[in-house]
Amino acid sequence: MAQPLVKKDDDHDDEAEYSPFLGIEKGAVLQEARVFNDPQLDARRCSQVITKLLYLLNQGDTFTKVEATEVFFAVTKLFQSRDLGLRRMVYLIIKELSPSSDEVIIVTSSLMKDMNSKIDMYRANAIRVLCRITDGTLLTQIERYLKQAIVDKNPVVASAALVSGIHLLQTNPEIVKRWSNEVQEAVQSRSPLVQFHALALLHQIRQNDRLAVSKLVTSLTRGTVRSPLAQCLLIRYTSQVIRESGNNTQAGDRPFYDYLEGCLRHKSEMVIFEAARAITELNGVTSRELTPAITVLQLFLSSSKPVLRFAAVRTLNKVAMKHPMAVTNCNIDMESLISDQNRSIATLAITTLLKTGNESSVDRLMKQITNFMSDIADEFKIVVVEAIRSLCLKFPLKYRSLMNFLSNILREEGGFDYKKAIVDSIVILIRDIPDAKESGLLHLCEFIEDCEFTYLSTQILHFLGVEGPKTSDPSKYIRYIYNRVHLENATVRASAVSTLAKFGAAVDELKPRIFVLLRRCVFDSDDEVRDRATLYQNTLGGDGSVVETDKDVKDFLFGSFDIPLVNLETSLKNYVPSEEPFDINSVPREVKSAPLAEKKAPGKKPAGLGVSSSGPPSTVDSYERMLLSIPEFANFGKLFKSSAPVELTEAETEYAVNVVKHVFDKHIVFQYNCTNTIPEQLLENVIVIVDASEAEEFSEVFSKPLRSLPYDSPGQTFVAFEKPEGLATVGKFANILRFIVKEVDPSTGEAEEDGVEDEYQLEDLEVVAADYILKVGVSNFRNAWEGMGPDCERVDEYGLGPRESLAKAVNAVITLLGMQPCEGTEVVPPNSRSHTCLLSGVYIGNIKVLVRLSFGLDGPKDVAMKLAVRSEDETVSDAIHEIVASG
């Protein structure tokens, strides 16, 4: 730091470029670090070198293992110095270097000495450093000091110990839990921050004990909590207690509500806001409970501080989703926020207004937004577009002005995500508001005339192909579509050809003209376009005369493609070119668990154009390959379904066993995955003895033992059963693990020659109806349902008896049937009294099944359910009813 200082004041031109670290280089600094080894330590120089090292690390430089070790050892020498400032820097760099456990030992004694020092700063920092770098074994040695430190009279020391406790609880919970007496004492501390840290730690120690948390909240809400941060924590814990205390009587007062309401009058804004937010998020909050919270948030809206305005408008925006009426009082303040300097605040204000506005204010609001849209970033525009979409669905009569707005912004400049949001919104409006269809389609047509995004063009063309033929005058779209064939890239041209074919197939009068157009496309320069044109010419059949299109052709053109694309991809990769053509029916149809991203946004409508989501790479085919490699299973035919693993042992037992059920048409195979968790044992000839006396229709045909099961390397053993062909046979199986156990010498790892036969009781395994149904989604449930027709429909009503909640009942039925919920209907909005859930699946024998479940609350807790099943086979529809009736 010293050398460039010389020129500092007389060279003003260089000032902008000046930095004390100019030209710093890692190698040179590491050299400099040798001063740490000097017998006569120069504390200031050492501090400077540490600062340089920290600067390098901060700028993203990394040290190699060797360099880090070298620096670390050199730094440990600095504990000899008594310079306070240097010691602080030593603590800092040790934390940054995060030494390995064998290195930690070197500094342990120095740090432990500091932990018992008279200087508070040493004690506090030594605790923080040691707890940061320590592992479990060392922790027991220093535990005594930490417990003392928690109740230390110096608040900095106490906080250091408590915060370290919060971190250590993640890795060594059993040790930290032993400190609860001291932590409890610290909660009563007079120092505000000690109280905050103690409260956080105490709650984390007890978080799984509902009663203890409830007691803690009860005692503290009556007492005095000093720091605003601790008060915020207490508000969070209070809402947790309220939430977990479950449904209260509708009319009665909510416990602890008074406490939350009292916090609205706290002197710290942080606490007021935390309480207001907690109230708005209460389950089933009433408007009387909401009012005081909304009032304080409204005051925040006109604060001079942007952070306060933002916090308030963001919270009100969330409230408006569920209780738009409660927020209308703030509308005037919201409108003035549209011109807020901070565009995040302005956007939130606009979208809140869109949610709370009534039908008559729509036009005025749209005018304000039009001015606003030109000066915000795309990401905010997307939020506004989404808000307008939901507004339009709420006031369908206003579709004209909203649709105009959307088409206007569609014509303006914008990035892909923004354009996609607009197009998605128009598509959804077209689907849900019949009157908007024709104008919406024309807007889309105009958009693709000048659209730079191939993805959007192809998606719109596809959508036009589905919706266009159903309009009053389909021919007017042809021009737009055929223009694409002339002006666009190959991908768009190919989709335009497909769209033309759909018009030809759906509208008989247009067929001759389409035929002419298709014939021209045969001369395209691109293979795909030519291939499609030829294919469609042939499928449409005839020679271009007005004839009715075959049903098969229509199915081919319009039918939904219900095979998960990921599965198709893997199957195609596995397909070996041969005489035998690829059979699309051999592709597994199981949809693996939905991607996490979907769960993140519950209640969000699926985007309009999106193709039905495909899951992550499925494990089905890896199972299939493994089973096929076992010759005994080779003649079982095609694998229908593999279940998720079912645990047959408790966690942390000697042997861990889970089972996967593989269902074939005439057989079922149990794959037992075994893990030996005892290092001193080797298991041999491992087999599962299955007692099928409670599963009469199954007969065991084969079992494949596991030769050897060493410690901690999982292995599989299989048992196969024959069952009636094509039927969903259920039963219960008792399992015993039988094996020969051999002692292993832990020092050499060698097993003894002689073993002892032994048995180990496993839990029972059930084959249930859900094992015979594949989770296969459909992209559009209504179309699929209507396509199936009422011929094999079976409808009946069931009383499910008292249930904890509607959501629990819905989930129970979904799990029972093992089918794929469609269109997000598995999510039950809180407090709803009725719910409709749509399921789809494939029954054994490759029979498509669709289920429509209507739930209703009958009395306070009783759930009634109407079950409507459609499938391609009435016996299957009956079978589904039987599953529900017996489940």
Partner: protein, 182 residues
């Protein structure tokens, strides 16, 4: 911590101090959300470009992107940022920002700019270390924080000859400006 926000302790994901070109002066990450240096730099770039044009010189400003809440305040050529999760209480984050901003102001004796910050980088790093530990807020009172950091550095009451050159300049400048203002 996997607990939902409503049961979790308020936490800070990072504290950033960037210069007027978006380059790092001092940064500290407390969360694994950005596992690599490249991820961190990318986040800093986004934060910097999206806030660059706003006026955050009198009051702390706030923005939200990529599911993070960022509160920020600028002075001279320095940009101060504090980031939290999107469920965090915005006012708690603002309190941490104030703690950072004001304690740096005190430690640099009012001369808050990039050059001064780099020359006293040790103080800035210690300051961050005193405000947040592993994401948990340690202290929010700027005077207490500055006091803890300063008491650890070389005593400012010591004779001038014992101070570092930097500090000597700072003290001298301070005396000088004060006498001018009188």
């Amino acid at each position: 911590m996997s607990a939902p926000y409503s049961e979790a302790c308020p936490s800070v994901k990072n504290i950033l101090l960037l210069d007027s070109d978006g380059k790092r002066v001092a940064v500290k990450y407390f969360s694994d959300d950005w596992p690599t240096n490249a991820a961190k730099e990318a986040f800093e770039r986004v934060v910097f470009t999206k806030t660059q044009k706003t006026n955050a010189r009198t009051e702390a400003e706030i923005a939200m992107f990529e599911n993070y809440i960022v509160v920020y305040k600028f002075v001279q050529d320095l940009h101060f940022f504090v980031t939290g999760g999107d469920d965090e209480n915005e006012l708690i984050l603002a309190t941490v920002l104030t703690a950072f901003f004001d304690s740096v102001g005190t430690l640099l004796r009012g001369n808050v700019d990039k050059r001064e910050a780099l020359e006293n980088l040790d103080l800035i790093l210690l300051c961050i270390d005193e405000i947040v530990d592993g994401g948990i807020i340690l202290e929010t009172d700027p005077n207490v924080i500055a006091g803890k950091v300063a008491s650890n550095s070389i005593d400012s009451a010591a004779p001038l000859s014992e101070q570092t050159l930097t500090q000597a300049f700072a003290t001298a400048r301070e005396h000088f400006t004060r006498s001018l203002l009188k």
